[in-house]
């Protein structure tokens, strides 16, 4: 069986879950150990209110991490998500301030996110420019656009728009429900849709994928658009949760956080390997670590050292796991 074959069969194998998943994702054990330590140390880590807080905070990260993971698996990258997140929040906030319905506000955000993603996609997939350079440039350009269009903070979006970040559905916060839907959609896409197999095939060997009849431009282009849409949606959610958004600082550094979650979740930066389960673990690991250290009242600089060390350890495990699995 070739590497490409392995990659093509991997999604279905992961879907079986269980012990194989634990072997493939040792981050599960790290996560479990972390939860145990924090619960024993604080007594409140597993409190429903705290878990709800972690999940709500991590929701925006998960929403963007899923399409970004697919993009990375296909061999591309998007570093512009932080600025796109801000743009989405600003557009949604402005529309809400102008009295538009929450649906229109969110759709407006999604439209600008799709536009940013489409620009990235055309430049990277059809013109063949480096995704690193293009999206790094877009990170700066879109941030400038954010500040030019919205130089002052927006706030007071009204009770209708607050639903997006503050409502509960069957007792679960709306952002968490949105994140769960995105995670499930991403996992199903990777496991069962032909497009999911194409993502892996393109990431493993673009030329071979092309010779196999796979459209190696359209699939990653659509993933760029999906990533832009997801970033804008996350921005709208964050704007709703905070009832405010600032063009210069909203989403600043978010691109590195979400990329960290994707990579420690086992997605290979070189493409061709990864899973949505891993991404979920990466998101939960980052959210739980931050929360636990705060609960423990760890001093700031110790928190930074602990976070850095834990991230390196998590990334090392994620790196080693697929090798042992092959």
């Amino acid at each position: 069986m070739t590497t490409a074959d392995t990659a093509l069969f991997r999604p279905r194998a992961l879907a079986t879950g269980g012990l194989a998943a634990v072997r493939r994702h040792p981050l599960i054990l790290v996560l479990a150990a972390m939860v145990l330590v924090f619960q024993v140390s604080t007594g409140s880590f597993l409190a429903p209110a705290n878990l709800s807080g972690i999940a709500t905070d991590a929701a925006a990260l998960a929403v963007v991490a899923v399409p970004l993971a697919l993009l990375v698996i296909s061999g591309y990258l998007d570093l512009s998500v932080g600025s796109t997140l801000a743009l989405g929040g600003l557009v949604a906030g402005r529309l809400a301030n102008e009295g538009q319905s929450p649906a229109v506000a969110v759709l407006g955000a999604l439209a600008v996110g799709a536009a940013v993603g489409a620009v990235n996609g055309v430049l990277c997939c059809y013109l063949g420019l480096s995704p690193f350079i293009v999206t790094l440039g877009m990170l700066t350009a879109v941030r400038g656009l954010d500040q030019q269009l919205f130089p002052l903070p927006l706030s007071g979006f009204g009770s209708g728009f607050a639903w997006l970040g503050g409502a509960t559905i069957a007792g679960i916060a709306a952002p968490v429900v949105i994140a769960a839907l995105v995670l499930v959609a991403g996992a199903l896409f990777l496991a069962f849709a032909p497009g999911g197999r194409h993502v892996f095939a393109i990431g493993v060997n673009r030329e071979a994928a092309h010779l196999s009849g796979i459209n190696i431009r359209r699939t990653p282009f659509l993933l760029f658009v999906a990533t832009g849409v997801a970033a804008a949606l996350a921005g709208a959610v964050k704007a709703s949760v905070l009832d405010s958004v600032v063009a210069g600082t909203s989403g600043a550094g978010f691109e590195l956080t979400v990329l960290t979650a994707v990579l420690i979740g086992g997605v290979a930066l070189t493409g061709g390997s990864g899973s949505i389960l891993g991404v979920l673990l990466g998101v939960l690991f980052l959210g739980g670590l931050q929360n636990g250290l705060t609960l423990l009242n760890v001093p700031t600089f110790w928190q930074q050292m602990a976070q850095g060390t834990a991230l390196v350890a998590g990334a090392a495990l994620a790196y080693l796991a697929p090798r042992t699995g092959r």
């Binding site: 604080t42 409140s44 880590f45 409190a47 209110a49 705290n50 807080g53 709500t56 905070d57 941030r143 500040q147 130089p151 002052l152 903070p153 706030s155 007071g156 503050g166 964050k238 949760v241 905070l242 009832d243 405010s244 600032v246 063009a247 210069g248 600082t249 600043a252 550094g253 931050q290 929360n291 705060t294 609960l295 009242n297 700031t300 600089f301 928190q303 930074q304």
Partner: protein, 344 residues
């Protein structure tokens, strides 16, 4: 011409505002509020080569372009300069100390007649300021003092924190009988943040020693303020007070408390911050438990950006100014409206 501002040179650590990497993000939110200044005496200005002549151009170098305050200051300063027939030009430093140094050197080479600069790293700005003075230009330091300068525009780093801490302590004594729980959202990455934090904590703990300090967490932006406060609430659901080193962080705490079920006008809850940011001012005006913000007036700063170089050019003996900072609360509706209008 060199105009020594002080006989004693501050230590490097005192004058260093931020590191180039980790501190940059923190600085953005913190300085959005416009900050305060390291204390240092400033000598009276001597007329520069352009002294006695009318200024036609002022260069405003405010490095934190990502902050809302940047847009506000540029707008207000441009309008203030226009009243005197002066054109205002700006740099685009993007919170980069290297970029700032490059832009300032370019201005000195171009002989921009008056430069008002908020140095990210004061040590790096010193030789550039000296070059500017040697070239006969006017150099005004914003947010602190240099050895080589024509004048400065200062504001106290710690005073906002002190005012906020004292007000919160007074509220705790009156409303909670001097008992309760408080969390501080702090910053320890830059001098401005450290002094604000120290002023806030020292003033509060001195005036309300019976209130239990349950957390001191690094947070300068609303996202972090929200998530940190949620975590603190998981362990201390009866938390009464949250004071922020910035309004942005405090606003995140405000939303976290609301999302935890607190009524927006809860009588036993106090949130306060520093900067006079618009969302926080609106929350105060609405009578919520966001009860105070220590604020500088953008109008005052913008006026100083134009008036101080003009005073130097005119050869006035004491051209430097200190921008006042004041605490606004629920009863200060007129003042809040003024501040909001300046930010509009």
């Amino acid at each position: 011409m060199i105009t020594p501002a002080s006989s004693s040179r501050p230590t490097a650590s005192r004058r260093r505002f931020l590191t180039l990497t980790a501190g940059a993000l923190a600085t953005t939110a913190l300085t959005a509020t416009a900050c305060s200044a390291p204390a240092k005496a400033t000598a009276s200005a001597k007329p520069s080569a352009s002294g006695g002549k009318d200024l036609t151009k002022i260069g405003l170098d405010y490095p934190f372009t990502q902050l809302p305050l940047y847009s506000t200051l540029v707008r207000l300063s441009t309008a203030a300069a226009k009243k005197h027939g002066i054109s205002l030009i700006t740099t685009s430093d993007n919170a980069g100390a290297d970029t700032q140094a490059t832009n300032l050197r370019t201005w000195v080479t171009q002989k921009v007649p008056a430069i008002v600069s908020f140095p990210m790293v004061f040590e790096a700005a010193e030789p550039i300021a000296r070059q500017a003075l040697d070239a006969g230009l006017i150099w005004v330091t914003y947010g602190g003092s240099l050895d080589h300068q024509s004048a400065d525009i200062k504001f106290s780093f710690s005073k906002g924190g002190t005012l906020l801490g004292e007000a919160a302590a007074k509220w705790a004594q009156q409303k909670l009988g001097g008992k309760g729980k408080i969390a501080f959202l702090t910053d320890s990455t830059i001098e401005l943040g450290r002094e604000r934090t120290k002023g806030m904590i020292d003033a509060f703990t001195k005036a309300a020693p019976g209130v239990d300090v349950v957390a001191q967490e690094q947070a300068i932006d609303p996202d972090t303020g929200l998530s940190k406060t949620k975590a603190i609430l998981a362990r201390h659901p009866d938390l009464n007070l949250v004071l922020g080193v910035t309004d942005a962080a405090a606003y995140g705490a405000f939303k976290a408390l609301q999302q935890a079920g607190r009524s927006t006008d809860d009588a036993k809850t106090f949130v306060g911050g520093q900067d006079g940011a618009a969302p926080s001012l609106l929350a105060i005006r609405q009578g919520t438990f966001y009860r105070a913000s220590a604020a500088l007036a953008p109008d005052d700063i913008a006026a100083a950006i134009v008036d101080v170089p003009r005073a130097v050019a005119a050869g006035k003996s004491h051209p430097s100014v200190e921008v006042p900072i004041a605490l606004v609360g629920p009863g200060d509706t007129a003042r809040i409206n003024q501040l909001l209008a300046q930010n509009a």
